[in-house]
């Protein structure tokens, strides 16, 4: 895995967050309490003088890890976050996706509509699962949350696109250029609090976090951030091999994306 220059990555992300804030009237961010979205919030604090001037949304299906709920509530208090919890239902959808699937999109749609958010910050990275590699820094969705991947507007230099239509919203991806190892290097550098599930106890840890149903731990002895960084430098196991949903065909994930699921 290639480690990049943290200072440059940080500058770019701060720039993107500030652009988003200046261009859109009503922005919010998705927060899964994972290492990426938590890093994004830490970057927002840097960009906005110690505050996070937009709400953070937790799409909660009710069966997240207890550690995740604890981390959420503690960090919300510590960083004075404006937390919105949107409950999603567990529904029968495409097999294997019953909890992390399209129903999360419904909850998200509801929240976007209720609060009239016109832009949503999502902390995906290009080096994650293949399909996500196609996203741009600012990626508009139309009113049915469809990601029209065939006709994306040009992202030229620092010129980002604006809203697609009155009902759609723009997705902002401030971490698109970061690699997994960059995130951990930054977490180490900035002492960013991290969900304890990432650290190993008794030989297992979680490399990537979903809910309790679809996330599976990996064998590992990495007990702290330094260990994790060391492990990343030597491992080749795909990050998400602990998340069952990625064992399904990639095209299903693509379709979910097109339907608005992140």
């Amino acid at each position: 895995m290639i480690e990049q220059n943290l200072k440059e990555l940080e500058e770019r992300s701060i720039f993107i967050l500030r652009e988003a804030r200046s261009k859109f009237k009503n922005i919010a961010a998705l927060w899964s309490m994972g290492k990426d979205s938590t890093t994004m919030i830490a970057l927002a604090r840097k960009a906005f003088l110690g505050k996070v001037p937009f709400p953070v949304i937790h799409i909660d299906n009710g069966i997240d890890f207890p550690e995740t709920y604890k981390f959420r509530d503690e960090l919300t208090r510590k960083w004075k976050l404006n937390l919105i919890v949107a409950r999603s239902e567990i529904k029968p959808e495409i097999s294997g996706f019953s909890c992390c699937g399209a129903n999360k999109t419904e909850a998200l749609k509801r929240v976007m509509k209720q609060y009239k958010f016109d832009a949503l910050i999502v902390s995906i990275r290009r080096d994650e699962h293949g399909v996500r590699a196609k996203e741009r820094v600012f990626s508009p969705r139309d009113k049915n949350f469809r990601w029209n991947y065939k006709d994306q507007p040009a992202e030229l230099w620092d010129d980002y696109s604006s809203k697609l239509d009155n009902e759609g919203h723009v997705r902002i991806h401030p971490l698109l250029d970061w690699n997994e190892i960059d995130i951990w290097n930054y977490i180490k550098k900035e002492h960013i609090p991290v969900n304890q599930l990432y650290f190993s106890r008794n030989g297992f840890r979680y490399r990537s976090l979903g809910c309790t149903h679809c996330t599976v731990p990996l064998k590992s002895d990495a007990k702290n951030v330094d260990d994790i960084i060391k492990e990343l430098k030597t491992t080749t196991v795909e990050e998400r091999s602990g998340r069952e949903q990625d064992k399904e065909k990639e095209y299903v994930m693509q379709k979910l994306r097109a339907l608005g699921y992140m």
């Binding site: 290639i2 480690e3 990049q4 220059n5 440059e8 940080e10 500058e11 701060i14 720039f15 500030r18 652009e19 804030r21 200046s22 604090r45 840097k46 960009a47 906005f48 003088l49 110690g50 505050k51 001037p53 290009r126 080096d127 293949g130 399909v131 590699a133 196609k134 741009r136 991947y149 065939k150 994306q152 507007p153 040009a154 992202e155 030229l156 230099w157 620092d158 010129d159 080749t236 196991v237 795909e238 091999s241 990639e250 095209y251 693509q254």
Partner: protein, 408 residues
């Protein structure tokens, strides 16, 4: 680690995806899981596995054999990391290609040695745009040498014709040529036994040397303060200005905002949460000024006596993705500003496949032109040759993306 962006230019059928997939495999830059996934998929399609499947991860791409959007792939080679920006070759997707090309200074131009292929008109256009967007080094990879029996004469003919094209479009950067077979992995990392007549080094080595050699960049650097305002950041009851420094250094003291010659005193400069005395190029800062400015977004900050160009008229070299005439209603987007163009005069059209200019009063789609623009209001800018970040813009025709331009 230094990550170098490398743009892949060339027609879709000439093997770009295959080349990147091949590079990833040969440099051990792709996980076994990814390779297995790609192999399984090719089996399902009944197609023989080929390296391009590694990159094409969208369903439609795999079935249609077409790369739809910019895709990036990283490969390590010696002490560098290359990020290959694969861009589609299809004409109507050229706007995507432009965004892919815009972050790189080095490009690999893929040509095909296969009879009937060579380099296409569309490839030439891509090269033109790439040159416009700042590509300074080009490696021409003449691919599919395995289909022409590794014939040196075929190779030389292609080298000659591409060389002529590059000089026709006035490309004055570095150019190198390498014969390869992406499908067979020949001359990519290891010299090919089938092309002993080729006295150069393999592709990745050529790329490596070119990038290392270009390291000592032209130090004709513009170092006057130029910062562009993004907007406001609240700090309690106060509103600070958020800005990005494009060149030079911003310090406490008197600063000017343009257009408008607005003079203010920068009392405090905050960089990433800390107060600093000054901040340099690339910094995103928050500035406390002594008196508020109503709508600062898009204004340019400079020191008194070192003003940027402020005008509502400018000349530009543009590349149009749709037909442009002098009656087209365009809006330019530059430095966070959106400005309507009141008058548009087309001085000449440049054919992007030959570099030839004609005194036409329109610019056909996918061609370039020299324009005189009269905007509805003043903007602050610099010539592209002076400061790239302040001399380039995109333009829209009736809300649809219309092309890119650089200020001359």
């Amino acid at each position: 680690m230094i990550v170098e962006n490398v743009t892949m230019l060339g027609h879709k059928d000439h093997g770009k995806s295959t080349l990147i997939g091949s590079v990833l495999m040969l440099t051990n830059s792709v996980s076994n899981t990814r390779i297995e996934e790609a192999k399984k998929y090719s089996e399902k399609l009944g197609k023989p596995f080929e390296p391009a499947f590694i990159l094409d991860s969208l369903e439609e791409e795999r079935e249609g054999g077409l790369t739809i959007d910019s895709t990036r792939a990283e490969a390590k080679y010696k002490d560098l990391a290359f990020e290959f920006i694969d861009v589609p070759g299809h004409e109507e997707l050229i706007k995507n290609m432009m965004s892919g090309a815009s972050f790189a200074e080095t490009a690999i131009l893929l040509a095909s040695a296969k009879p009937g292929e060579g380099i296409r008109e569309q490839t030439k256009r891509h090269v033109f745009v790439a040159k416009m967007l700042g590509i300074e080094n080009i490696i021409v990879a003449v691919n599919k040498m395995d289909t022409v029996n590794y014939d040196e004469n075929v190779y030389n003919k292609i080298v000659e014709s591409i060389g002529k094209f590059l000089s026709d479009i006035k490309f004055y950067g570095k150019v190198r040529y390498v014969p390869i077979s992406a499908y067979k992995g020949e001359n990519i990392i290891r010299r090919s036994d089938n092309m002993k007549w080729y006295k150069g080094v393999p592709l990745l080595e050529e790329l490596y040397r070119m990038i290392k050699g270009a390291g000592k960049k032209n130090e004709n650097r513009f170092n006057k303060l130029r910062a562009v305002v993004q907007g406001f950041i609240e700090d309690g009851n106060e509103k600070l200005i958020s800005a990005k420094v494009l060149s030079g250094k911003i310090e406490k003291g008197k600063i000017m905002f343009f257009p408008g010659n607005i003079e203010r005193n920068a009392k405090k400069i905050i960089l990433k949460g800390r107060r600093v005395a000054k901040a340099g190029e690339g910094s995103s800062v928050a500035i406390e000024i002594d008196k508020e400015i109503k709508n600062p977004r898009g204004l340019v900050i400079a020191k008194k006596g070192e003003e940027p160009i402020v005008a509502n008229k400018l000349n530009a070299l543009i590349f149009a993705t749709a037909k442009l005439t002098s009656s087209s209603k365009i809006v330019i987007k530059i430095l966070g500003n959106e400005v309507k163009c009141n008058k548009l005069k087309i001085m000449k059209q440049i054919d992007t496949t030959t570099g030839a200019s004609s005194k036409k009063r329109l610019v056909e789609a996918l061609n370039a032109g020299i324009l005189e623009l009269e905007l509805e209001s003043d903007i602050a800018f610099e010539k592209y040759s002076v400061l790239k970040s302040m001399g380039r813009f995109s333009f829209y025709i009736e809300n649809k993306f219309g092309g890119v331009g650089i200020v001359e």
